[in-house]
């Protein structure tokens, strides 16, 4: 049989490719925003209400150099990752169960519709009662904030797997856990990925909020605690530095980890448009 030839591709010129991307536009918007901030803060001239961008950055820099901010951030991230991983694992177990049995299916549907609208932070008082002031309470609310959106996304993804693909899998004699792991999960990966993304965003917000509500002990608090104590001491520039850190970490995870994950998986597989 005659082979089908490979298609020819011509690359666009480098300059046009660079201009077609979005980074430079974002950079200009960001610079404009920074300029407005700086000018307005100078005009306001009230460091207690709104420190200048320069003051914020220098507070950020000294907090990083002193090792306080990195320590706080690490504390937060450690709690976050523990809770996130736990939430994802529980979500995986629940959805597997739901994909394989009618009872599991109903249970998951009921639980997600009940708990998904409940803000995780609203569970904090209960968590404090059950687990006391400390990391376990934080992990509890984070698990709650991750579990439901991830489970919902996974389950929706499983339902959306085309019947032909399911049959192709079963045709190979796959069933049970192997069918879920090797057919359903990769087939539903676009939805799972967006669920993980959403779960991450919820978890991060929930954590910072929870840390703001109760400070743990001064030594072991996270970024939320850093923001809270600095506000109490009227170190507004440091408060802003803390907020900036929250944003930066959020951006980093979203822009680096999740974007890379998207690029090497669903984008490569043609399951989402770029």
């Amino acid at each position: 049989m005659s082979d089908i030839g490979a298609p020819k591709l011509v690359r666009a010129p480098a300059l046009r490719r660079a201009l077609a991307g979005t980074p430079w536009r974002r950079f200009i918007i960001l610079a404009g925003f920074a300029l407005v901030w700086e000018l307005y803060a100078r005009w306001l001239d009230n460091g207690l209400l709104l420190p200048t961008l320069g003051a914020t950055l220098s507070a950020l820099w000294s907090a990083i150099l002193s090792g306080e901010l990195p320590n706080r951030a690490l504390t937060s991230l450690r709690v976050l990752i523990t809770g996130y991983a736990l939430g994802v694992v529980i979500a995986a177990v629940l959805t597997t169960f739901a994909a394989l049995s009618r009872w599991g299916n109903e249970a998951l549907g009921l639980l997600t519709s009940m708990f998904n609208p409940l803000p995780a932070i609203a569970l904090l008082p209960i968590a404090l009662l059950w687990f006391g002031v400390g990391t376990p309470s934080l992990i509890f609310v984070i698990v709650h904030s991750v579990l439901w959106p991830v489970a919902l996304a996974c389950y929706g993804g499983f339902l959306a797997v085309p019947p032909t693909l399911r049959m192709a899998g079963r045709n190979l004699g796959l069933s049970g856990g192997r069918f879920v792991a090797e057919i359903l999960v990769p087939a539903a990966f676009p939805q799972i990925l967006s669920g993980l993304r959403m779960g991450w965003a919820f978890a991060w917000r929930t954590l910072i909020a929870a840390e703001l509500v109760f400070g743990v002990s001064a030594r072991s608090g996270g970024i939320g605690w850093f923001i809270y104590t600095n506000r109490a001491q009227l170190e507004t520039a440091s408060v802003f530095a803390g907020l900036l850190t929250v944003i930066l970490i959020g951006l980093l995870v979203e822009g680096v980890i999740f974007r890379t994950l998207t690029r090497i998986t669903v984008q490569r597989w043609g399951q989402v448009q770029t």
């Binding site: 693909l165 045709n171 190979l172």
Partner: protein, 271 residues
């Protein structure tokens, strides 16, 4: 009906042993309006080496029958037996090529799709599976595309991958569910020719579902025509090898005969 060419459908090639047997199979399923009977009382046999085509208009239950043979759904009455044993679940001994292009795993490359199927369906080691997969992809003309992901391929190429995957598993019975129906006419013709060649080279037994008379004559050794609502066997046609070439007198004659017996609705074809 006044036309009655060999209505039984039970006469296979008596020289070869029976591979698959459908014994008075009826299939019905519940819909919102009640229970719909898709197939009623269908019996036929497939002997080893045969290529049986189920031919009929849409609604005649031909795909439903194929699903039952594949083990994807259970007959509500009757039995489907393979080598004398009742068919329960789907399995790689009955590899199916579906009509839909999304039968390939989008997260695996062309090679990965075939290799994975071999690893799971035939329990081969990765190395052996890869070797066989490469050989089959070469046979269907996809040597240059082994590392491509399915979404970059045209419809015809995706079907080639599915065909390579199905043949590579060396199924006892190859099931084809209108595999070329979603292709353009030119590609379809080419694929029919290539499929015929692969079938003749391997001597694979196949059950092929289509609504195209020319396709049925081209790829089949025997044609079972079905009538719709509910699906029933209407007629059997043997396709002699010399009739298989397009444009020959025999091809046209058989095409006309099938057209007359099966597709002419009484109220139109009465005159």
């Amino acid at each position: 009906m006044n036309v009655a060419p060999r209505l039984t459908g039970l006469a296979g090639d008596k020289a070869s042993p029976t591979l698959l047997e459908l014994d008075r199979v009826s299939i019905s399923y519940p819909t919102s309006d009640g229970i719909l009977t898709a197939v009623e009382d269908v019996s036929f046999r497939i002997s080893a080496g045969e290529r049986l085509v189920l031919l009929g208009p849409s609604g005649c239950g031909k795909s439903t029958l194929l699903r039952a043979v594949g083990g994807f759904l259970k007959p509500s009455a009757g039995e489907v037996r393979m080598n004398g044993r009742r068919i329960g679940a789907p399995g790689p001994d009955r590899m199916t090529v579906f009509q839909e292009f999304d039968q390939l795993l989008p997260w695996r490359t062309v090679l990965g799709n075939v290799r994975y199927a071999l690893e799971r369906g035939r329990a081969l080691s990765r190395r052996d599976a890869e070797q066989i997969a490469r050989r089959w992809l070469e046979r269907v003309g996809l040597k240059n595309f082994v590392d491509a992901f399915p979404h970059t391929l045209s419809g015809g190429m995706k079907q080639r991958v599915a065909i390579a995957r199905a043949f590579a598993l060396e199924p006892a019975l190859l099931l084809m569910d209108e595999p070329f129906a979603a292709l353009d006419a030119l590609t379809r013709r080419q694929m029919q020719d290539e499929l015929l060649r692969l079938c003749e080279e391997t001597g694979n037994t196949a059950l092929f579902v289509t609504h195209g008379i020319d396709e049925a004559i081209r790829v089949g050794t025997r044609i079972l025509a079905l009538t719709p609502h509910p699906g029933r066997l209407a007629a059997t046609f043997d396709v002699p090898p010399e009739t298989r070439a397009r444009g020959t007198a025999g091809f046209g004659e058989l095409e006309r005969r099938i057209q007359e017996t099966v597709f002419s609705a009484p109220e139109i074809g009465h005159v």
